[in-house]
Point group: C2
Chain length 310, copies 2
Amino acid sequence: MTDAAAQPLLSRLSLNQETIRQWSLPELADGCARAGLRGIGLWRAPVRAYGVTAAARLVRDAGLTVTSLCRGGFFTAADPTERRAALADNRAAVEEAAALGTGTLVLVSGGLPPGSRDLAGARERVADALAELAPYAAERGVRLALEPLHPMYAADRCVVSTLAQALDLAERFSADQVGVVVDTYHLWWDDTVGAQLARAGGADGTTGADGTTNAGGTTNTDGTTGAESAPSRIAAFQLADWITPLPEGVLLGRGQLGDGAVDLRWFRERVDAAGYRGPIEVEIFNPSLWSRNGTEVLTEVVTRFLRHVT
Amino acid sequence: MTDAAAQPLLSRLSLNQETIRQWSLPELADGCARAGLRGIGLWRAPVRAYGVTAAARLVRDAGLTVTSLCRGGFFTAADPTERRAALADNRAAVEEAAALGTGTLVLVSGGLPPGSRDLAGARERVADALAELAPYAAERGVRLALEPLHPMYAADRCVVSTLAQALDLAERFSADQVGVVVDTYHLWWDDTVGAQLARAGGADGTTGADGTTNAGGTTNTDGTTGAESAPSRIAAFQLADWITPLPEGVLLGRGQLGDGAVDLRWFRERVDAAGYRGPIEVEIFNPSLWSRNGTEVLTEVVTRFLRHVT
């Protein structure tokens, strides 16, 4: 892609704060503003430690917007008391998102309750929780963004493992209330992900008279995009690369863009074609990035983004 | 299940030798025979070290059969020289399987070539390799058993990640030449696996007049099973449980039956319903089993099998 064409994509680049977790919130706001970024993705724990109102002001004063808040969810408990506590915590997360001015609350569903082997039951409890939370969130201008996590997390972290499953759940609700997160790290291996991305964009799977697939996001003759008539279910788009060997616990082994097996540009083009026009967040959990100078890491992220994503 | 009903299932129990890798081949044959098992699954490296002909005689003299040989495959290389070497090695594996008297050669496809991000291309090379090997194997009485591995191995070990993908590949060939391996450790997380198991059994997905799904393996009025008219694609059925946290490299963290998240009985019932009547192999890679007395581990395997699978 030419430099001129890359510019609009670069303006959508957002840094998820866990990528450079060695930075405090003020360092993050300052560092991202200096690098010319417009958005950052935040996590609840550091935001609460700093103070939600103060964090919102800090980000705003730096000329940045919060592209998403990570994360609510973890509502697969079968026990009624645990379930009530999880829902209360998710309502608090909605309020924090609203206070930060982001319309996107990322949800990781939670895994199997201890001793349970009932994946289908846990997945139904995710649907029940979404039904309770979606109107509450919508009233506060927040859309629930359900994130499918890699199947290696199905037991202990997230029973929603594929984009198809996430869409099956999200489509029970209106598109402005519940969307999905597309994270390359979690979805790259799936041979159906291209078709599911088209589905997320509102594609009906039929082939148009011109031989192209009638996917959401293709430009109509009146200049509007298909995505406008059938709103995209994609609420957030996150990038990380897949590298091996995986570390113990498999949580902190994500790769810098371009270092691994994921065809990041392929994903970005299909997410584009699905009508998504929002932020593109880089979210890499890796201690090798956390031990380095934050500004140097951010420079590398921008360079890699230009090389592998635009 | 009653003891009487469990008996036919117990007679199908087979021990994959990697579960008790501390045993030499003679110890394995002796230990399994003493425990009343009828089958064992073998790996190429220890068989070659012992001598293929000698191993075949050893197993036969112990009154056991070889239920599968692990493994061929690793034929995703794009480089022609590497590819030729991989195919030659697979022909050798076919010959070893035939010499051991097993009709089942387990194939793990291989991952992405170094630096490649082309999953679709790698998967097509798997199909090409199957086309070269399947007639060669069939002439020697060996069926290729393509194994989908958990998506966490997609980059470095196996680009075939779901049962649906494995069936898509297998169905390009006749069912007696190419089948699939159903391993609970790799497939348990997938919400489509029930439907894919029915597909593997020859189900056509339509609902019969009695309201039951017309899956292969249901008993017809003439006493034959649907699987006989539409042969099952399931060439091998392997058991291990899913436990967390995963160890570094994620290879040696499989759980003893009943210790983890997998509903093993659910799988066994669906594999039954798909018309599979072959061996049920327990294949657990875990150093905590290897550090124990082999006979004690095998006794535990049998106990757990009766409790969680039958």
